[in-house]
């Protein structure tokens, strides 16, 4: 679909949100799904960029991305009124009916979890939101969480009001301070290091952890098989764009 930029905002030098108006197709998006965005009309950059969906309101949807390379840099240069070519929503999202949700986001991993939190809030399902950021530059991400509660956050540099450390340490602190209802699920999205660290958290034994993964993608809709992520049993690959991007932490080999 063609999607027109309605609004652009820089949260920091490296973090940008774009609000776009697309077509009917996007209305059905669910938390954890993503879109594939063509950043210009040329053949370079050649491939689309996968970006999580943060918010949907009718035909309008919001992306939040970190400027990490050429494609995201070009995306951040788009102006209001310009059109982007977008495929989606794609992939399988989070399960939506836990009795209680623990949402663990690292940095830009906030994107699908913000969408999930909004959905849980709307359906009245209780949850806690834990956000980890690397540096004070990412503090503006916290603003998104104002409407949710409880929210805890950590930062790897010392910042007043935040837990000093990474979000997995924050999660451990949180877990050791509460007793969880039956049917609790953990939902996580963040950098590879964070996801790996989650695997080692003893207190999560027995609690299903759904994690949204990133991988290099050729297509985003299942034809190219570029997006392999190993199955836990070593017997082949899941494909992040079709089987995921959300997986049970227990089923993937990281």
């Amino acid at each position: 679909m063609k999607a027109m930029v309605q609004n652009k905002r820089f949260l920091s030098e490296k973090l940008c949100t774009l609000t776009l108006t697309g077509d009917e197709g996007i209305t059905s998006a669910s938390p954890g799904q993503f879109v594939m965005v063509k950043v210009n009309e040329a053949f370079d950059p050649f491939l689309r960029r996968p970006l999580g969906i943060m918010e949907v309101d009718g035909n309008t949807f919001t992306l939040l991305f970190e400027i990490v390379g050429r494609g995201t840099k070009m995306l951040a240069q788009k102006n209001v009124g310009e059109e982007l070519d977008v495929l989606g929503p794609l992939g399988k999202g989070f399960s939506l009916f836990p009795s209680f949700g623990i949402l663990v986001a690292g940095g830009r991993g906030i994107v699908p979890l913000y969408f999930l939190a909004s959905t849980l809030a709307r359906t009245g399902i209780p949850f806690v939101f834990l956000l980890g950021i690397r540096s004070r530059e990412e503090l503006p991400l916290l603003d998104f969480l104002e409407k949710f509660s409880p929210v805890f956050w950590s930062c790897e540099e010392e910042v007043p009001g935040g837990f000093c450390g990474d979000v997995v340490a924050l999660l451990q602190q949180y877990l050791s301070s509460v007793s969880l209802p039956v049917g609790t699920r953990v939902y996580a999205c963040g950098p590879e290091g964070m996801v790996r660290a989650l695997c080692r958290v003893e207190m999560l034994r027995g609690i299903p952890v759904e994690v949204s993964l990133e991988s290099l993608m050729g297509c985003g809709f299942g034809v190219c098989l570029s997006c392999g992520v190993e199955k836990k049993d070593g017997k082949g690959y899941y494909h992040v764009c079709k089987d995921g991007p959300v997986f049970l932490l227990s089923e993937v080999g990281l």
Binding site: F46, L216, G222, V223, S226, G228, E230, G236, K242
Partner: protein, 301 residues
């Protein structure tokens, strides 16, 4: 306006084919395009048993194209027949199926399995994959093995037989005479180009196997040269591919004499691009006041 073309005895409603490995097993594309509108789709090359392919990373964007190291991952011919054939049977378009093996025996076994499925119109033998019995060079690089491979597949299949070649070919004349002699019915050219990429941040090869296949618009001028040279030495019908993204790209191949064209990498970027290419072909013919696409095929020699 007539867009129908023929590859020898194989008739296609139009020359636009979805290339192997970039249209999955077909189904994945239904929300993006009406598969009955393309001339044919080519199922990802199948092996006799499921094959898990290469470890990630499997893809890297390059300037004007991409490199892939999928490693021929596929569900195997049996699961394909079970899970996907029923869907393909609902289509009216041509269905080509790619096949590969690590040994000649494996190729033959896949071809035999497919023989039973009447819905499958053609077998495309992907010979650009490593021959494990010959230390990993591709089947294309050893002419005697290539001849045996083609002859043995031919002997077990009555289906329309296509061989898909890549830039590893050393001597077109020899390869073509093998194909002609062994009753290959069409040649697909080209597969991706072996290439290399370095991850400068990690200071390592980007792909585990070092080499990966380069495809996409970047290679189009090289693919065109291959098609041209191939058509200098054979009268077998050629399916031209390599970097096609637009109708104009497709026309370059058709004008050189390719009787059909394959869309590969660009389908990943624009899953409905086959339809845009088709539309562009029609517009071109209208503009040039030509009413049969066959009258432009091979016009530039």
């Amino acid at each position: 306006m007539n867009l129908a073309v023929s590859l020898g005895k194989m008739k296609l409603s139009n020359p636009v084919i979805l290339a192997s490995g970039t249209c999955g097993y077909g189904k994945e594309l239904v929300s993006y395009l009406d598969l009955n509108q393309v001339g044919a789709l080519t199922i990802k090359s199948l092996s006799i048993t499921p094959w898990k392919g290469n470890p990630p990373p499997r893809v890297r964007e390059t300037c004007g194209g991409m490199m892939n190291s999928i490693g021929l991952e596929n569900k195997g011919v049996h699961r394909f027949l079970e899970e996907d054939l029923p869907f393909l049977e609902t289509l009216t378009t041509r269905v080509f199926v790619g096949i590969w093996g690590k040994t000649i025996k494996e190729y033959v076994a896949v071809a035999q399995e497919l023989e039973k499925a009447r819905r499958i119109d053609a077998i495309e033998v992907n010979v650009s994959c490593p021959n494990v019995e010959k230390g990993g060079a591709t089947f294309l690089e050893d002419e005697e093995t290539l001849r045996r491979l083609v002859a043995e597949v031919r002997s077990v299949t009555g289906k329309f037989l296509i061989v898909k070649v890549g830039p590893q070919v050393r001597d077109w004349g020899k390869v073509v005479s093998i194909f002609e002699k062994e009753k290959v019915e069409a040649i697909s050219v080209t597969n991706s180009f072996p290439a290399l990429s370095v991850d400068v941040e990690k200071m390592d090869f980007f792909f585990h196997l070092k080499f990966a296949g380069l495809s996409g618009p970047a290679i189009k001028p090289l693919a065109l040269k291959m098609v041209y040279e191939l058509l200098c030495v054979t009268a077998l019908p050629v399916i031209g591919m390599g970097g096609i993204a637009t109708a104009s790209d497709a026309l370059e191949f058709l004008l050189l004499g390719a009787r059909a064209i394959g869309l590969g990498s660009y389908t990943l970027v624009n899953p409905s691009s086959a339809l845009q290419v088709l539309k562009g072909l029609e517009e071109y013919l209208t503009r040039k006041q030509i009413d049969d696409i066959n009258s432009i095929i091979g016009k530039v020699r």
